[in-house]
């Protein structure tokens, strides 16, 4: 069986959940090989985690000469690794950076690229959700090594033992790849809540919050959910852009999406329409969001949400 390369999603060596989802998908296609681009001394620790989800090999690429530059060196490193290992497919997390790496890699390897897959099965055949979630598209790569970026929550991570053999790989990075410099970097402040794109439950607020996100955050915490916001709430300066759900923000597909004071414009729906269960609270019974919901409450979020939160907390004891 051929190797399937999985680019490890991590922040400073802390492996994120999508990595395990990608390893689980890779197992359907071949032998999973995790590719860790980060500090070499964290390679062993990452390998320990990756092998629990079936990684047979763990390539460690020290990022000392890559990390000061945007995207291009990582694409170059993956190109050289792919040329050496001749994988059956390359799976990359569908983040902004992941997609840019994948785009460059596709040109370098003269290989087909599919982005934002929500499922990948043998073939590999991918499933994507397009046009604001109104259509499902199945596709495959017809040239070269399939390069597929996969969205979070596309598979349930399955624990299975892999050999987890660590192999160091030292790519040669060209000067041409070092032309976009990362001058400064400020890590995003931890909120203590699940990450928006990875969360099982998302509680969002829009214009109807009038800028008061306390009821949203309190309900989110009672449900163990991530907090999201509509573009209207972000444009009003109530929430940072990193919380935005929608076409120009994050696309989420949680088990439960609770939209509060959000009218439900197409741009917002594009970011949440594929959620399993949708609930809305809105004063305006004409809000288009109500067309999508499994359950809706016509009422003021400022009274409804605190009451729900209180009841949930009471039941949790």
């Amino acid at each position: 069986m051929s190797e399937v390369l999985v680019l490890v999603d991590h922040v400073d060596g802390a492996v994120k959940k999508p990595t395990y989802e990608l390893l689980t998908i890779a197992k359907r296609l071949g032998e999973p090989s995790a590719v860790f681009i980060g500090p070499a001394d964290q390679g062993a620790e990452v390998a320990e985690k990756a092998k629990k989800y079936g990684a047979e090999k763990v390539y460690v690429i020290d990022d000392a000469q890559l990390k000061g530059y945007l995207v291009a060196p990582k694409a170059e490193a993956l190109q050289q690794l792919a040329e050496k290992s001749a994988p059956a497919a390359i799976l990359i997390p569908s983040s902004a950076e992941g997609k840019e790496i994948a785009g460059r890699l596709a040109i370098k390897l003269e290989s087909g690229l599919i982005t934002d897959a929500v499922d990948v099965q043998e073939g590999p055949v991918t499933t994507q959700s397009v046009f604001a979630g109104n259509f499902t598209v199945q596709a495959k790569v017809t040239k070269g090594t399939p390069i597929i970026t996969v969205k979070p929550n596309s598979a349930a991570p399955e624990e299975t033992d892999g050999a987890g053999a660590v192999e160091e790989f030292a790519p040669t990075i060209s000067d041409a790849a070092k032309t976009a410099q990362i001058v400064a970097s400020q890590p995003r402040q931890a909120t203590g809540r699940p990450e928006l794109t990875e969360a099982a439950i998302v509680v969002s607020g829009g214009r109807g919050t009038a800028g008061n996100f306390e009821p949203i955050e309190a309900l989110a915490d009672a449900l163990g959910a991530a907090v999201g916001a509509s573009r209207a709430a972000v444009d009003s300066g109530w929430m940072p852009h990193s919380f935005q759900v929608g076409q120009t923000g994050k696309t989420v597909s949680p088990q439960l999406y609770v939209a509060n004071g959000i009218s439900g414009a197409i741009q917002h729906r594009a970011g949440m329409q594929t959620s399993k269960t949708i609930v809305a609270v809105n004063k305006d019974e004409e809000a288009p969001m109500f067309e999508l919901v499994d359950f809706g409450v016509v009422g003021d979020l400022h009274t409804v949400l605190p009451a729900v939160t209180e009841e949930i907390n009471k039941r949790k004891g």
């Binding site: 790496i101 934002d116 120009t248 009274t303």
Partner: protein, 270 residues
Amino acid sequence: MNIVVCVKYVPDATADRQFEPDNTVDRVGVDGLLSELDEYGVEQSLQIKEKAAAGDDPVESTVTALCVGPEKALDAVRKALQMGADKGVHVIDDAIAGSDAVATSLVLAKAIEKLGAETPVDLVVGGLASTDAGMSVVPAMLAERLGLPQVTLASVVEFQGDQVRIKRDGDTATEVIGGTMPLVLSVTDQSGEARYPSFKGIMAAKKKPLETWSLSDLGVDASEVGAGAAWTEVIDTTARPPRTAGEIVKDEDGTGAKALTEFLASKKFI
């Protein structure tokens, strides 16, 4: 400065978007327009031109709106000209229909090289993503093909001379990215509201130079583009069954909260 801004013609997101029987996007039967997210690219291109012309050491710039697409795609170029771009280039060729991002980036790259034949191109500008396919990969592909620095997904753009600095709100960190022109820049919808064309702008656009190029003008062989040359193949497209509205209750003195709590509990979310 020679600034080229890439603009895409897309089916209107508020219209009833469809696929053709051959699984390509219906770009003819559905009303289209300049991709909303590319308006931000046009806006930043114009702002860069205006700022470069304003300083102590004023620099004149030309903003060219470049579009690849069918006949109707000219509307996207026109909109960019109305907003203030100086000239337009429309690459149109029957062979291009069905091209994937890889082939589209090839056509764009060749057109950008042609635009830089006399005066080198300093800035290639793009948007965050198209509003139809939404892959968000073309600017990175262009940087790869043109061998230029990739300074992408900017929420703030600053420049001094040939030095460009952007703020990039990444997935896990906010970064400042720096590069030297010539480079590929892409901007998000956070970079600044796009201007509306003024009446004067709409009238002026009618007189602006507009060129139409075919693949042969770019030295691209028809076999390198189109559905046949795509490195990916759509096997099937299915309309998702529309969501049917579920139960909706009116809140009266706390009944809404009770009903909602019961619903969440019945679905085991509590």
